[in-house]
């Protein structure tokens, strides 16, 4: 009937400061008729606009904060929504400035595809900026598909030679990160060439427009095909008058499917029980699958609580895992400190036992040693937890393989983590 059948693509921008991310998002929205006329009017009257007379500063579509407009930079992520007939998009504009990398990580964790922008006019012999490499690395670690956009082609007169140089550098970067088949598109975000539709300016370019590439993304893996994972959010008590008092477990199915009669295992002790009812507010279901919020009733009292997991299929629990961390806190890592691992709805104390390596963003090499982890560092660590946690690998199941570390003294989210192995 409505847009119900469209697929969802969540896109985040990435790349160094001023390479044109916000302008690109503004351009995509503008050229897809996704901006309302009052919003366009507001752009033409905006204070601090960098556009020439009669033109719009499209970066202001997402740079909505006063200080962002004043300084001409993005500080935090903005979320915008639009749909084409085939696809409904969430576009997330992320900041390029190194200081705000944690906000870029926030945006990337909520996206499926990253557009990594490069300013074609500011590469010296094809050398990419550190921030370009950092963002591509983060996008790849977080499991996003990467699309490269070589922007500001107007400033190099749409020179194919320049494009090929940049393309060569991007291919080298892709190889060193293990990114395969990334599209590389020459664009002008300001004027819209090759953004929504193909431009005659680059007759030598035979790929598709950026938006077409985003729309034709393969869908990837169906979460309902993975093993069943269910993290309990809330225990529901029903004091039935006709039936006896019962406990149900409310939560959202992270992956897999569940049907009445299925055997599930509770927590690391893997205590078995059977599902007898699957309920929503107004329905009793025979089966349910990844993404659905439901309440599950089990055959016997299993004494499960918020944070406990119900699983089916193989499930590895471990007290020691290796994980990639993006350090997001202004406070550096303190080896003596405990951090709370929040994974699904569970919170468990942990300690970083070992920093296996930190990535040097200048050349993406891995630096060994126990240096302090500080803001914006990306490191592989060994993590020890107080009780066993589910050790699904992030690349196999991002819903359960992801976690955050919380500093219990400040309550700050200290790091984003992705499980890579059992140590």
């Amino acid at each position: 009937m409505t847009q119900a059948q469209t697929k969802l693509v969540r896109v985040v921008t990435a790349g160094s400061v001023d390479d044109g991310k916000s302008t690109l998002i503004g351009r995509i929205l503008h050229d897809s008729q996704a901006l309302m006329s009052d919003q366009v009017d507001a752009l033409s009257n905006a204070r601090f606009s960098r556009a020439e007379e009669g033109d719009l500063d499209l970066s202001f579509v997402t740079d909505g904060l006063e200080s962002e407009r004043e300084q001409g930079i993005t500080i935090d992520v903005a979320y915008r929504y639009f749909a084409t007939p085939q696809t409904s998009f969430i576009v997330i504009d992320a900041p390029g400035h190194e200081q705000y990398t944690r906000n870029m990580v926030t945006g990337a964790s909520n996206a499926d595809v990253a557009i990594v922008l490069v300013d074609a006019s500011r590469l010296h012999q094809g050398a990419l900026k550190v921030q370009t490499r950092r963002h591509a690395t983060i996008a790849h670690l977080l499991g996003l598909k990467v699309v490269f956009a070589v922007n500001k082609m107007d400033l190099v007169n749409w020179s194919q030679k320049v494009f090929l140089e940049v393309e060569e550098s991007l291919k080298r970067l892709s190889r060193s990160l293990g990114i395969t088949n990334a599209a590389i598109v020459p664009i002008n975000a300001r004027s819209g060439d090759n953004v929504v539709s193909k431009s005659p300016a680059a007759s030598w370019y035979d790929g598709s427009s950026l938006l077409d590439i985003l729309q034709s993304q393969g869908e990837g893996t169906d979460l309902s095909e993975l093993p069943f994972r269910f993290s309990i959010q809330r225990v529901v008590r029903v004091d039935g008058h006709t039936i006896e008092a019962q406990r149900g477990y409310a939560g959202r199915i992270a992956s897999g499917q569940i049907a009445i009669g299925d055997e599930v295992f509770v927590g690391p002790h893997r205590r078995p029980t059977k599902i007898v009812r699957i309920e929503t507010y107004d329905q009793s279901l025979d089966r349910a699958e990844a993404g659905q919020s439901v309440t599950l009733y089990t055959e016997d009292e299993v004494d499960a609580a918020r944070g406990d997991l119900l699983t089916r299929g193989e499930a590895n629990y471990a007290k020691r895992v290796t994980a990639d961390l993006c350090w997001l806190d202004d406070q550096v890592w303190d080896p003596r400190r405990r951090y709370i691992v929040q994974q699904g709805t569970s919170s468990i104390l942990s300690r970083i036992e070992n920093v296996l390596h930190i990535r040097d963003m200048r050349d993406l090499s891995e630096v060994r040693g126990d240096q302090a982890l500080k803001l914006n560092d990306i490191a592989l660590v060994q993590l020890q937890t107080q009780t066993p946690i589910l050790a699904d690998l992030f690349q196999d199941n991002p819903k359960t393989g992801a976690f955050i570390l919380i500093d219990p003294d400040t309550n700050q989210t200290a790091a984003a983590g992705m499980i890579r192995g059992v140590a």
Binding site: T2, A4, T6, K7, L8, M36, S37, D38, Q39, V61, T62, G64, L65, E66, S67, I75, V77, A78, Y79, R80, Y81, I90, N103, V105, T106, S109, G143, K145, Q217, G218, G220, D222, L223, Q233, R234, R237, V238, A250, G251, R252, T280, Y281, D282, E289, A290, G291, Q292, S293, R306, Q343, N397, P398, K399, A402, F403, I404, N411, Q412, T413, A416
Partner: protein, 302 residues
């Protein structure tokens, strides 16, 4: 490698909102749900029922009442709470005025911005540490920047330059004493999503969302409603026009649009074709200044 779920658009949004509501309730000591009787809060309340029934809601409903409500809205609010058997807490801007914590330039001045003061007073009086709100990112450029779990400091202020990271759907709801959270389960919904969901779920709304005849005066691009607090000026031409409201807020700053959409499906058809944003078409409080919403939020507004 990317991953997807097979849920359809509205099912996905619904399930996400239910998940957020349950996280909010589980991670707070004393939450409340902001309920004004407007369409977004009606949808939010409906989702709360889906998240928590057959139990009672684990929080009261809270309305910050400017006292300048359109006809039928407070009645709808009270009847809805009574029908569901849920507790309703009303914090009155009028009481803040009497206390002297809100001072207005004139007795009929807009009380919209004053809501922040009354809200913060209610948070203190009742000890709320988390408020669920129906705000959506597509409403405004400052809202587009906000987290789902939006942290507020001990002064209730939003600090857009240093928001907490928010990764995947792992919400960190931990607070120091005195701080609070505003949580927005409808963050990823658009106006059109709200209406198609209202249609699907048959959610009841106050009548002023549907086309009706009302006395209005022309004021720039707006049809300003003629009400006891916003009377027509000397010599202004009062017209009776067929209009409906796209948002329902304080009488002093909310304007209806011309429309003959008398039911939800007609509104959906109109929303699809609209070339004006929801707030752009209806809210005078945002016109005062480019960053009006951001500034209000810094002061503790929803």
């Amino acid at each position: 490698m990317t991953f997807f779920s097979r849920l359809l658009h509205l099912d996905r949004l619904e399930s996400e909102a239910i998940y957020i509501l349950r996280e909010a309730a589980a991670q707070s000591r004393n939450p409340a749900l902001l309920f004004s009787g407007g369409k977004d809060s009606a949808v939010l309340l409906h989702l709360a029922l889906k998240a928590f029934r057959p139990e009672k809601l684990p929080f009261p409903l809270l309305h910050v009442d400017t006292g300048h409500n359109f006809e039928g809205v407070t009645q709808f609010r009270d009847e809805t709470a009574a029908r569901l058997g849920e507790r309703l807490v009303v914090a009155h801007v009028e009481e803040s005025i009497q206390r002297g914590t809100v001072r207005l330039a004139s007795p009929t001045a807009s009380r919209n911005a004053a809501q922040a003061v009354t809200l913060l007073e209610a948070i203190e009086t009742h000890g709320f540490d988390l408020l669920l709100g129906g705000a959506r990112r597509d409403e405004d450029k400052a809202r587009a920047k906000e987290r789902v779990f939006s942290h507020r400091d001990a002064f209730g202020a939003w600090n857009p330059k240093s928001q907490r990271p928010e990764l995947w759907d792992l919400y960190n709801g931990r607070l120091q004493t005195g701080e609070n959270f505003r949580v927005f389960p409808l963050s990823n919904w658009t106006e059109l999503d709200i209406w198609t969901y209202i249609e699907r779920e048959k959610i009841a709304l106050p009548s002023l969302y549907f086309a009706h005849v009302r006395p209005v005066v022309r004021d720039g691009d707006y049809w300003r409603p003629v009400t006891p607090v916003t009377p027509a000026a000397e010599g202004q031409l009062v017209e009776n026009r067929l209009v409906r409201f796209r948002t329902v807020g304080d009488m002093t700053c909310t304007c209806p649009i011309e429309s003959n959409a008398a039911d939800v499906s007609a509104i959906i058809a109109e929303t699809r074709l609209s070339t004006l944003s929801e707030r752009g078409a209806t809210r005078m409080d945002d016109k005062v200044n480019e960053a009006a919403m951001e500034r209000r939020k810094r002061e503790g507004y929803f």
